[in-house]
């Protein structure tokens, strides 16, 4: 049986606590990985590896955290996502909440897309598809 949303959150809270060295009370659903929890680039790989182990899933490159889109001039101009880029990003990371970001899609705001909730959404969809 698939774990409940609460069970998933608890497991992911533990994973993020271990990966980022933060206390579990800091890992709330809306916390951003970079801004609130202090994640650096290598931590994203650490999180991917830990999630793969914890949930016995395979996370292909770029699926949870996109890595190719930002280098494409069709998708990014003047530090801002183009409409095509935004569409591509939404298609690539459907597990993120774009409601705030799409109002002002500057690259500097992009890290805010990746919250604890984003991870929970991703793992939930991944387990549902398994």
């Amino acid at each position: 049986m698939a774990p409940s949303r609460d069970e998933l959150f608890t497991q992911i809270r533990d994973v993020l606590g271990d990966a980022l060295g933060v206390d579990e009370e800091e890992v709330v659903p809306e916390a951003t990985l970079q801004g609130d929890l202090g994640a650096e680039s290598i931590d994203f790989l650490d999180i991917v590896f830990r999630l793969e182990k914890a949930f016995s899933i395979k996370i292909p490159k770029g699926e949870l955290f996109p890595d190719d889109i930002l280098n494409n001039p069709e998708y990014v101009q003047d530090d801002r996502m183009t409409p095509a880029g935004l569409d591509k990003l939404k298609a690539t990371v459907p597990h993120a909440d774009f409601s705030e970001f799409e109002k002002s899609p500057y690259l500097s705001k992009m890290p805010d897309l990746f919250t604890v909730n984003t991870i929970v959404n991703y793992v939930e969809s991944k387990l549902a598809a398994a």
Binding site: I42, D43, L45, E52, K61
Partner: protein, 166 residues
């Protein structure tokens, strides 16, 4: 000083695990200062020893195609000191490995008794995505590291492949 903090491999199972030993000796220059009158192997060099053991294990698993760079220390815990006369053993196991990176777990033993745990993450840097200021050859797996695998195999061990002529 040569930057090599393992003396020999004693086990090497390609893509899975490796063990290396390090004999701590009073001849090591840094032990004069760490600490005066009380020589203790620095914990940072124990981590480096594990990183060299695990790094060669990770590099060999992908045919030494990439430079393997220590990117994150997930865990480093020690319960005891190592002093001259002790033998350290680094047992490293690959936990995750893909084209981007690798994660390893490791146990540090002193004279056969576990005294610590060092878990690491390595990043793979291949020629295509290397930063501009990084050398264009494999600068991690140079002679001194590869000689360890050669020595291990010449003693009857198996499981480690050599890089292509570097």
């Amino acid at each position: 000083m040569r930057w090599i903090w393992i003396d020999a491999f004693v086990e090497f199972v390609s893509g899975e695990r490796a063990s290396a030993v390090k004999n701590v000796t009073l001849a090591e220059e840094h032990l004069r200062d760490h600490f005066p009158g009380y020589p203790v192997m620095p914990a940072s060099l124990i981590i480096e020893g594990m990183a060299q053991t695990a790094g060669i294990l990770v590099g060999e698993a992908r045919g030494f195609a990439e430079n393997v760079i220590l990117a994150k220390i997930r865990t480093a815990e020690f319960d005891d000191y190592a002093v001259p006369g002790d033998q350290l053993r680094y047992d490293a196991v690959i936990e995750s490995l893909d084209e981007r990176a690798a994660a390893t777990s490791g146990t540090v033993l002193k004279n056969g008794k576990p005294i610590g745990r060092v878990d690491l993450i390595f990043s793979h840097v291949n020629q295509a995505d290397r930063p501009a200021d990084m050398p264009d050859h494999n600068f991690v797996f140079t002679g001194q590291f590869m000689n360890l695998l050669t020595a291990f195999r010449s003693q009857g061990g198996s499981g480690g492949d050599q890089p292509d002529g570097r």
